[in-house]
């Protein structure tokens, strides 16, 4: 089955625009003034794009490769994990996992690179640039 994915994007945006426009009905007049007009303009433009894309080449369903999905999921897990295990450990784990996923055969180099990179970046931001980053244990590298 062939699906026109190009047409799907403006349709998705149209739905989102209608939803946001509906939200503005509960807003007072002044805060709603600019967003409403913008949404109407966006709606017209999106409709026009949808009309043009309707006749675009039909495409097969695009399959995202395992690496792509894994990168997305791992990135999300990494950000959540920072809160629980601190910046250094989560960054090292993330980099190690992604390096292995993206093709590293041996495990020693990814371990060294991921640990070193995370520590160096942590020291650069916290000690030299004095930008605080989440710790697992305060006053330590972790």
């Amino acid at each position: 089955m062939k699906i026109n994915l190009k047409f799907g994007v403006p349709i998705l945006f149209l739905i989102v625009e209608i939803f946001f426009f509906w939200m503005t009905f509960s807003y007072p007049a002044i805060p709603a003034f600019v967003p409403r007009r913008l949404l109407v303009f966006l709606f017209v433009v999106t409709l026009w794009i949808a009309y043009r894309e309707w006749n675009a080449d039909k495409r097969e369903i695009v399959s995202f490769n395992v690496e792509f999905i894994s990168t997305l999921v791992l990135s999300l897990v990494y950000v959540v994990l920072i809160n629980y295990v601190g910046y250094v450990i989560s960054s090292a784990l993330y980099m190690f996992a992604l390096m292995v996923l993206l093709g590293s055969r041996k495990l020693f180099m990814p371990f060294v690179i991921s640990t070193g990179f995370s520590v160096i970046l942590f020291l650069l931001f916290t000690k030299i640039l004095t930008v605080p980053l989440p710790h697992l244990i305060r006053g330590t590298l972790l």
């Binding site: 807003y27 600019v34 999106t46």
Partner: protein, 493 residues
């Protein structure tokens, strides 16, 4: 004035000051190159370091940092498609394309020379005509700011290529709409926040930028085949570095025009290097014989953006020093640095402490020279990042993006927003929606809305005020002309 220049020269030309200018410039380049660390943040971090220094020494270091960081943003913009600072967004458009075409080193060289020329040009303007120019800047009120924003939004058309004009307009409008998220400026009513207090301040620009350019690029790198990335790795490092005199000569009009635009935009308080670089890029594209080639990887595109954003540095110091009105957020932090040292900006600063003022002006020349030297030394080194294998580069960029997004406000909401914009940017680019107009919309949207409401309050709801003030009317006419010209050019093809 010549006496003051000589006095300033005698005051600033010490080994200590030269060392501090070099240190500030080098640090600025590093800070600018790291996504998430803005020029403003860099200056804010270094101001406390100047407490123990004498005022001129402190200013010398901060001035070097200011100029260096604006240039530094072009390094990651060109090599990694990740603008280090918002000022380098327009550099991505041709800089990264040049890297893909195997001319990454040359793109860096062009960016460096252009940044140097823009910086020197605006410093000369700063020294020679600061006070009278500041008076014009001060006559800018909210109607004029609205028109500046409107003019900026018409640039969206010239940023979109012919096939995707409609999608470019969509992206720009989307960016402006996204900028309405948060509490509105008049009634402090939360719009589209879904009750999330972290969105009350709106969408932070830097995480959105990092997501749209950096994380989206990571997703593209993972999705693309490996041969394309290897091709980039192999070619860019051995290419020619500096543009030839002939190439520079062919770009001289662009360099001059962009430097002038950057200086003028810098002088206008509220308009920063991010807007300036897009305006400079757009005007270069409009006026160039190779306008159609912009966006495919030509040196002129990089030159336009970089000359413009570095020229903002000198321009932004004009209203700061003469009137105490900062030209942009970076110079606002510099104002803090001045006040800490007991220096009150204004006309009296020029009469009471001319050695400090003119010493600072002259130090900006030296800072630009240091930037050129460090940049030249780094030109062979910076592109080495392209040799890094994809399986190291990708997680490295993500970690840097996460760190950079978090460091703005120490907020994980910014990090989640960065990831969201990354996915959004990836999907939009996959279906041929340009990203640059979204950024322009995000920057100009708040400026336009705030100025609109301020104007309507002043005029008690009458729109005639926009057409009754000469500068506002001029800017409106410029916007209309720009729009008509751009639409005609696009429709003709």
């Amino acid at each position: 004035m010549l006496d003051n220049i000589l006095l300033g020269f005698q005051s600033f030309i010490t080994l200590q000051n030269l060392f501090l200018i070099g240190l500030g410039t080098f640090s600025g380049i590093i800070i600018g190159a790291l996504p998430g660390l803005s020029t403003t943040m860099g200056i804010a971090l270094f101001v406390p370091l100047t407490f123990s220094m004498d005022p001129l020494s402190g200013l010398c270091m901060l001035g070097g940092l200011y100029g260096g960081s604006v240039y530094g943003g072009s390094i990651s913009a060109t090599l990694l498609r990740t603008p280090g600072t918002a000022a380098s967004c327009a550099t991505v458009l041709d800089g990264y394309e040049m890297t893909k075409n195997g001319e990454g080193a040359k793109a860096l060289g062009v960016g460096l020379i252009s940044s140097f020329i823009g910086g020197i040009f605006s410093t000369i303007i700063l020294i020679s005509i600061a006070p009278p120019l500041a008076k014009i800047a001060l006559s800018f009120g909210s109607p004029e700011y609205f028109m500046v924003a409107l003019f900026g939004l018409t640039i969206i058309i010239s940023l979109s290529n012919k096939q995707n004009l409609l999608k470019g307009i969509f992206s720009g409008a989307l960016g402006v709409f996204i900028s309405t998220i948060g509490v509105d400026v008049i009634e402090a009513f939360p719009r589209f926040t879904f009750g999330n207090i972290n969105l009350f301040d709106g969408i932070s620009l830097i995480p959105a930028l990092i997501g749209l350019f950096s994380f989206a690029q990571v997703l593209r790198l993972v999705a693309q085949n490996s041969s394309e990335q290897e091709q980039i790795n192999d070619q860019s490092i051995s290419g020619k570095i500096l543009p030839s005199m002939q190439e520079l000569s062919s770009m001289k009009k662009t360099l001059l025009r962009s430097s002038l635009i950057g200086t003028i935009v810098g002088i206008v308080p509220g308009a920063g290097a991010d807007i300036a670089s897009f305006i400079g890029y757009s005007e270069a594209k409009r006026n160039s014989k190779n306008g159609d080639s912009f966006g495919t990887g030509i040196p002129e595109g990089v030159a336009a953006s970089e000359a413009c954003n570095n020229a903002v540095v000198g321009g932004s110091l004009v209203p700061l020093l003469t009137l105490g009105v900062p030209g942009n957020s970076a110079s606002a932090v510099l104002l803090g640095g001045l006040l800490i040292h007991g220096l009150a900006p204004g006309p009296l600063l020029f009469t009471r402490t001319p050695h400090i003022v003119y010493g600072f002006f002259l130090s900006l020349f030296v800072a630009n020279i240091f930037m050129l030297i460090f940049g030249l030394l780094g030109l062979k080194v910076f592109p080495q990042v392209l040799k890094v294998p994809k399986n190291i580069l990708i997680p490295g960029i993500v970690i840097l993006s996460v760190t950079g997004s978090f460091s703005i406000q120490n907020s994980f909401m910014d990090v989640y927003l960065m990831l969201f914009f990354g996915v959004l940017g990836y999907i939009l680019e996959k279906y041929e929606y340009p990203i640059a107009p979204i950024v322009l919309g995000l920057i100009l949207g708040p400026m336009a809305e705030n100025a609109l409401w301020q104007t309507l309050i002043i005029s008690r709801g009458s729109y005639l005020i926009f057409f009754s003030r000469p500068i506002s009317l001029f800017l409106f006419a410029l916007s209309v002309a720009s729009l008509i010209y751009a639409v005609r050019t696009n429709l003709k093809s």
